[in-house]
Amino acid sequence: MMACVTITDQTSSELTLRVNGAVHRLHLDHRTTLLDALREHLGLTGTKKGCDHGQCGACTVLADGRRVNSCLLLAVAAQGAEITTIEGLAGPGGELHPVQAAFVERDALQCGYCTPGQICSATAMLGEAAAGWPSAASASLTGPVTLDAAEIRERMSGNLCRCGAYVNILAAIADVVS
């Protein structure tokens, strides 16, 4: 059964993006990634561009609670998802999310450029572990998930840090786990 859908030659569209609880209507070139939509069109510059090819994780945001690389997600394809960026993690009165607070406490950052991606990734990662998802570091695929150091390192490996703050990032995330 085939429905009739017309493909036009339009290379841009009216889009609706839901970011941090707010609805934005934009007219965007289809080539615009969610990352560039956030940074260049919505003034949400907290999400960073490190490589633009999904190879560093600096652009990590949450889409329906799942961590994704926004540099490989076309804005036009991101419609319908609830996007959460680093700007949306703190509480309504500006209270830092526990992961944000732990990063400050443990000096889990230096230049800060990978930091928003690390924090968004860690937040979602904690949810994945709580849901019982195993990782390549899990001793057993079917047993309960224990977020020890090896697990945290493996699960966070999609976020590069050139300043080498990994040791403190691990400590910060471990603080939140315990």
Partner: protein
């Protein structure tokens, strides 16, 4: 990146028709490979047909006791599925060994199968590449080829298939469900991919507009005793240098059936049938695992910079089979 039109396809038949009938139209799944290639200029489609909404994101039990995995299932959901983890651990391990948490959340099963090679010359449109531009040449042979094939290559192309998931599926005799112009059909995974030969630009036997809708895993009782081992240059978040997916059915110290597939060493997920033949009916011992690996690798034609992969593959085949055999009482390794 060239401008493109974008449409959300409402059902598989429409999607197939759109891609068949419109020049330059391609399917968009998770986008993790396609958008990357579009930014590089390697892919320049004029129309993206978004199929993420119409593909099944569910994994169902089949009548035969196997699993039918919707092509829209995200990699992370596949790896987290309790049935996959318990019944086909090699597949869960393979998926978890690939990419990063973020990419696994985005990538679809269908898209993963069709991802393109990581060969550095394929990825660079300013350089010759027989796969991208047939007849333009292959600079990898004289240039950078450490990551490329030791099996299945040709003088025209030594590219490797980068998917980990596909290696496990190859070992498990996966069958690909496709929707095409003539309606639905199935293709064994091993028959979906093509070796480069003289036409490295033709990577699959799929036709224009064919849409992968599901991947079926036949029931395999001894798949519960399976494993994936991936070797890479970084402890995580790196493509493989070599990998092996294996499942072993051992009784009384004798191999009743072995499933072995190799990754990152060939243009497609390499089912090591010669090794499997050598091993069937033989003792599950390190000596026989080695002989099986040697039999498979006898056909290896490495390049100067990747000859080490022959030793590496041999070692990890022996190691993984040894672990699987040792997991059963009376196994030797």
């Amino acid at each position: 990146m060239r401008p493109f039109s974008y449409v959300v396809a409402p059902d598989p038949a429409s999607a197939v028709a759109m891609v068949r009938e419109r020049a330059g139209a391609v399917f968009l799944g998770g986008g993790t490979n396609l958008v990357d290639l579009m930014k590089l200029g390697v892919a320049a489609p004029g129309t993206l047909v978004d199929v993420t909404g119409l593909l099944s994101g569910r994994t169902e039990r089949t009548a035969g006791g196997g699993l039918l995995i919707g092509a829209g299932v995200r990699n992370s959901d596949l790896a987290a599925d309790p049935r996959v983890r318990a019944e086909f651990p090699v597949l869960a391990q393979a998926v978890l060994a690939g990419a990063s948490g973020q990419l696994r959340n985005m990538a679809t099963v269908g898209g993963n199968l069709l991802q393109r090679t990581r060969c550095l010359y394929f990825q660079d449109v300013t350089k010759p590449c027989n796969k991208r531009v047939p007849g333009s040449g292959c600079p990898a042979r004289a240039g950078e080829h450490r990551d490329l094939a030791i099996l299945g290559g040709s003088p025209h192309c030594a590219a490797t298939h980068p998917s980990d998931m596909a290696v496990a599926l190859a070992a498990l005799d996966a069958v690909v469900h496709v929707e095409g112009a003539a309606g639905p059909r199935v293709i064994p995974l091993g028959e979906m991919y093509r070796l480069p030969g003289g036409e490295p630009d033709r990577e699959t036997t799929l036709e224009r507009g064919d849409l992968i809708t599901a991947v079926e895993l036949p029931a395999l009782e001894h798949a519960a005793r399976s494993a994936y081992r991936k070797v890479r240059d970084r402890a995580s978040y790196a493509f493989g240098v070599a990998s092996v997916a294996a499942a072993l059915d051992v009784a009384g110290g004798i191999v009743r059936e072995a499933r072995i597939a190799l990754g990152a060493v060939a243009p497609l997920p390499w089912r090591a049938r010669r090794a499997e033949q050598v091993l069937t009916g033989r003792p599950a011992s390190a000596e026989w695992f080695g002989r099986a690996a040697d039999a498979e690798l006898a056909a290896a034609a490495p390049l100067p910079g990747n000859a080490f992969k022959v030793t590496l593959v041999r070692n990890i085949v022996v190691a993984v089979l040894g672990e699987l055999a040792g997991a059963r009482a009376g196994g030797t390794a």
